[in-house]
Amino acid sequence: MRRHIREAFRSVWRNGWMSFASISSIAISLFILGVFIVLALNVNKLAADIESDVEIQAYLDISVERSQITELQNAINSIDGVKRSTFVSKEEGMELLKESLGEDGKALLEGQEGDNNPLPDKFVIEVYEPREIDVVAGRILALNDGVDPDPIWEVNYGADTVRTLFQVTEIIRYIAIVLVAGLALTSMFLIANTIKTTIVARQREIAIMKLVGATNGFIRWPFFLEGAILGLIGSVIPVAILAYAYGRLVAVTELELGLLQVVLVPTAEVWSVLVWLIGLGLLIGIWGSTLSVRKFLKV
C-alpha cells in the first residue's frame, strides 16, 4: 500500500502540467458549482423569508361593534391554517400610518383623528403554510356567509405578488439544479480525459508491469489513488476559497443588509454544504481514473 501511495504522488509530480491541468479543471468546475450552491442557498432562504412574511389583512365592516371583536377573533383563530391573529383598531392603525409616513405625513393626516378617522378596524392574520394563503383567505371571507351585514369588508394578502414570487423561486431552483448537474458531469469527463492521457503516456510501463506478472488490481491502485489525489486537491482549493470568501461576505454585509431586513444563510450552514464538494471532487477523480484504467487493462 505504501508503494501505491508513493507511486501515485510521484506520478502526480512527474506529470506536472497534466496534473496541474486536471486539478485546475476540477477546481474551476467545483468553484462555479460552489458559487451556484451558495447562491441557490441564499435565494432559497430569501424566498422562504418572504414567504413567511406574507400575512392576510382582514378589514372589518364599520357596522361591526367593538363588543363583537372577541367573538370574531375566536372564529378566525379556529380556522384551519391560521397561526395567529392580531386585532388592530382604527386608532392604532392611524398611529402606525403616521409613524411610517414620518414628518411629511403629519400635515397630510391633520384632522383625520377621532370620528374623522377614515381607516377601518382590521385583523392581521399569519398563516402556517404561506403557499396556502389564498385558501385561508377564502375561509376567512366565508365567515360572511349567512351573516348580514357582512362583518368582513375585505381581505387583502397581495395574492398576485405572492403567486409570482412562488413561481420565480421555483424556476430559480430548477435552473440551479440543472446547472449544478451539468457542471458536475463536465468536470467528470475532464478528469477522465486527463487520467486517460496520463495512462497513455505510461502504457509502456503498464505493458512491462503485466509482463513481469503484476495483477490488474496492482496496476490499478496507483492510478486510482492518483485520481483521488487530483480530485482532492482540486476540490479543497475552491472549497477553501469559497468558505473564506463567504465568511467575509457575511461579516461585511451584515450591517447593511440588516437594515433591509435581509439575512444571509449563516456561514456554518454554507460550510457544511461546501464540505460535500470535497467528497464530490474525490468521487469525480476516482470515477475518472477507473473509467480510463479499465480500458487499458484488457489483456
Binding site: I208, V212, G213, A214, N216
Partner: protein, 225 residues
Amino acid sequence: MQDVHKTYPDGGQALRGVNVRIERNEFVYIVGPSGAGKSTFMKLIYREERPTKGSIFVNGFNLEKLKQRKIPFVRRNIGVVFQDFRLLPKMTAYENIAFAMEVIEAPSRVIKKRTQEVLELVNLKDKGNAYPNQLSGGEQQRVAIARAIVNNPAVIVADEPTGNLDPDTSWDIMRLLEEINFRGTTIVMATHNKEIVNTMRKRVIAIESGLIVRDQYRGEYGYED
C-alpha cells in the same frame, strides 16, 4: 505444445500445427526466416497471444484453460527478454530490476537483497544508479536479463536478445544466459545469429511457414544469412 495453430484476426496463419516438448533445464534455440512464426511461438509461451487451436502447457499450467485472473501468476514463472530491452527510461538500473519484484509484492527487505544479488550476477554492481540512456546496449540487455531472472522464474523466453548488439557484447550476453541455464533455468531463445548457434551447440528448433521443420540436439543454424 500440442497441435498448436495460430491464425491472426487479419487472416495471417502464423502457426499451423506445432507439436513440441521442451524439458526442464533445456536450452533451446528457435531459428527460421523472418515471419516464419518464431515470435508467435514465443508470445504463446508467455500468454501474450492465445492459440486458435491446440493446447499449451507451461510449468504444468494449461494456458488454454487459464482464467484471466491467473495469468499474472503464470507470468511470474516466466522471464521475458526482448531485442529492444524494454527498460523503463525514468528508472535507474536498480529500480528497473526492483520493479519486477515490487510488482509481485515482495517484502522490501527481500527486494533489496535479491536486487543486489542479480546486479552482481550480471556484473553491473557499480551501475545500479545509472539510467538506461547512460548504459551501453550490452549493459541495458544485462539489466533486462537481471529483471527477467530476479523472481527466479523456471523459464526464460528471449526474443533475439543479441539482435541489437555487436558480436563481442553478444557473446557476453550468451555466456550470461548459459550461466543462468546452468543454475537450472530453462531457456528458449529465438535468434538469427548463425555464429552463436553453431558455436554454442544446443537444441535447435527450426520453424518455417508455421511448422517445425527440424528439431535437432546440438544442431546447427542451417541457414545462410
